[in-house]
């Protein structure tokens, strides 16, 4: 493969986006968003989101949640004993009830949005 540059072993690789965007490779997953109901969170149709499973969900967290078989991006909303899912579709949360099948996959930490 030709002459390796002698500087190569000392080159630290410059800015590595992984180091900025991924806190822990083990628990980080990337997903692609369809739909525009989370624009207020800065997430648009076609964006990729970075999801960290290891984080705990708090009031206001933007999460990947499986609700009755559908994988959704929603804002977790806690009001006393009640938990709801918020999106731009309605000013009111969709309250979760006992009959719902709910599974939180992880918390979104970053969104990759194509600007140009």
């Amino acid at each position: 493969m030709g002459f390796p540059s002698p500087a190569r072993d000392y080159f630290d690789g410059g800015l590595d986006l992984n180091r900025l965007l991924v806190k822990d490779r083990v628990s980080t997953f990337i997903m692609r968003v369809s739909g525009n109901a989370m624009r207020s969170a800065g997430i648009h149709d076609g964006d990729e989101v970075i999801v960290d499973r290891s984080l705990s969900v708090r009031d206001g967290s933007v999460v990947i949640v499986n609700l009755n078989g559908q994988m959704l991006v929603r804002r977790w909303h806690i009001d006393g004993p009640k938990v709801g899912l918020l999106s731009d579709e309605s000013p009111l949360p969709v309250w979760l009830t006992e009959g719902d099948e709910v599974g939180v996959f992880g918390v979104i930490t970053r969104c990759l949005h194509y600007v140009r």
């Binding site: 493969m1 072993d9 690789g13 109901a37 499973r53 290891s54 990947i64 559908q70 991006v73």
Partner: protein, 429 residues
């Protein structure tokens, strides 16, 4: 004084659990994963086991259950399983005082502390893997590898234990009861043949083997089985294990005796491991379609940790040591951070098939001067990969976004959620 305990951690129904981590529709229903070319069953969910589906059962025989019993079927998604395995192993490495990868979904790790501390660490491991990666594991802890395997077996078959069994904390009579009921063939290291012979000698259960005369066992069987007897009595005598060869893959991963810091040293390691893995494939008469390389720093290292891992799709089923070692070197060169102390590394070949597949006209291939051509192509690929990233180029159609259709039949495959930009899980906003 703190004592070192041996634990065995494995993922329950690993392939199925990987599928379920992303596809919630697969939960609480029977699921099977098929072998290469969708031939037969290689993994089953508990619900599928309850339906009486056996490992190795041909797909056509159970196909009707898809309608009648809501059975879900998936082709082997080696890219996904390989990536999920690397995550599990990396997380385990943070807990163990030592770590030996035994198969794609199984590891021995050392745990320090008194028994209560160890039980709490084991429970933490289980919780962390479930939370961070999304797959369920069981942890068995004891004083030897053979007993840790057994403890894991007990954890798996007794849901009340919450997936963790510390053998030394078990009630003596409960343990004895189990050991005198479980057949000797369930002991790690006892094959079917020696199992039959043992049974004919009246050694039918694990307790029988534990209490057998080690000298007699060595005389009638082997020193290997004698070690099993010692281990069942709590005497540690099985050294570092070699990865178990399963039908799905060949692994060659090791801890280094001295840390590897430079590109040159890592190239040497990757080259040797790739060639060893290739020769193991050759001895089994098989070919690989996917190459995975991994390396890792110690969790005790000062400062940052680094756990590079990459997968390279192969141009066609191959076991060519030159091609494999060149690709392994190129992939790792792009990922490692020179100057860091890497303490382990590995090469994994998966997506195995029994035939080299149809000859495909490669983009770069000129004619039939196969061997020489391949060398040239490899070095070009390596150059480009080193400069632009391991995924920037591959050989022939394998390097394109679309995977080569002819490699194997995978009609029921899920997306490669974690290794392909085109196959990310879509979420609705």
């Amino acid at each position: 004084m703190s004592v070192d305990h041996v634990s065995l951690v494995d993922v329950n129904n690993f392939y199925v659990s990987c599928e379920r981590a992303f596809d919630y529709s697969l939960r609480n229903r029977p699921v099977v994963v098929l072998s290469n070319n969708d031939g037969c069953v290689v993994a089953r969910s508990q619900e599928a086991k309850d339906l009486g589906i056996a490992t190795g059962e041909p797909f056509f025989k159970i196909q009707r259950l898809m309608d009648s019993h809501n059975l879900a079927v998936r082709s082997s998604n080696y890219e996904l399983y390989g990536d999920m395995s690397a995550r599990v192993m990396e997380l385990l490495g943070r807990y163990g005082t030592w770590h030996e990868v035994y198969s794609i979904d199984e590891s021995f790790i050392g745990l320090e502390g008194n028994l209560e501390q160890v039980r709490s660490t084991a429970a933490q491991i289980r919780k962390a893997i479930d939370k961070s990666i999304g797959v369920p594991v069981c942890v068995g802890v004891s004083s030897t590898k053979t007993l840790a395997k057994l403890a894991n077996h007990i954890a798996k078959h007794n849901p009340g234990l919450g997936g963790v069994c510390v053998q030394q904390l078990m009630d003596r009579s409960v343990l004895d009861n189990i050991l005198s009921r479980v057949p000797v063939t369930d002991v790690w290291g006892v094959g079917r043949k020696s199992g039959a012979k043992l049974t004919s000698m009246g050694i039918e259960t694990i307790a029988d083997l534990r209490d057998a005369d080690p000298l007699l066992i060595r005389k009638k069987f082997s020193v290997v089985l004698q070690r099993t007897v010692f281990e069942l009595n709590g005497q540690r005598c099985i050294g570092p294990v070699e990865e178990r060869a399963d039908r799905g893959q060949v692994m060659f991963t090791r801890s280094f005796s001295t840390p590897v810091r430079t590109y040159e040293a890592m190239e040497e390691v990757m080259s040797i491991y790739a060639q060893k893995a290739a020769s193991r494939l050759a001895s089994e008469g098989r070919y690989a379609t996917l190459l995975t390389v991994t390396a890792g720093t110690s969790r005790f290292a000062q400062g940052e940790a680094s756990f590079p891992s990459a997968q390279v799709r192969l141009p066609r089923p191959t076991r060519d040591p030159i091609l494999l070692s060149k690709l392994a070197i190129a992939a790792m060169r792009d990922l490692m951070q020179p100057g860091m102390d890497y303490v382990r590394g590995g090469v994994i070949l998966s997506g195995l098939s029994d035939s080299p597949g149809e000859k495909q006209l490669d983009l770069f291939e000129l004619g039939d001067g196969q061997e020489e051509e391949q060398k040239n192509v490899s070095s070009v690929v390596q150059d480009i990969s080193a400069r632009f990233g391991a995924k920037s180029i591959g050989l022939g159609p394998a390097g394109m976004a679309q995977s080569p259709q002819w490699t194997m039949k995978r009609e029921h495959i899920s997306q490669r959620y974690t290794t392909e930009w085109d196959e990310l899980l879509e979420v609705r906003a």
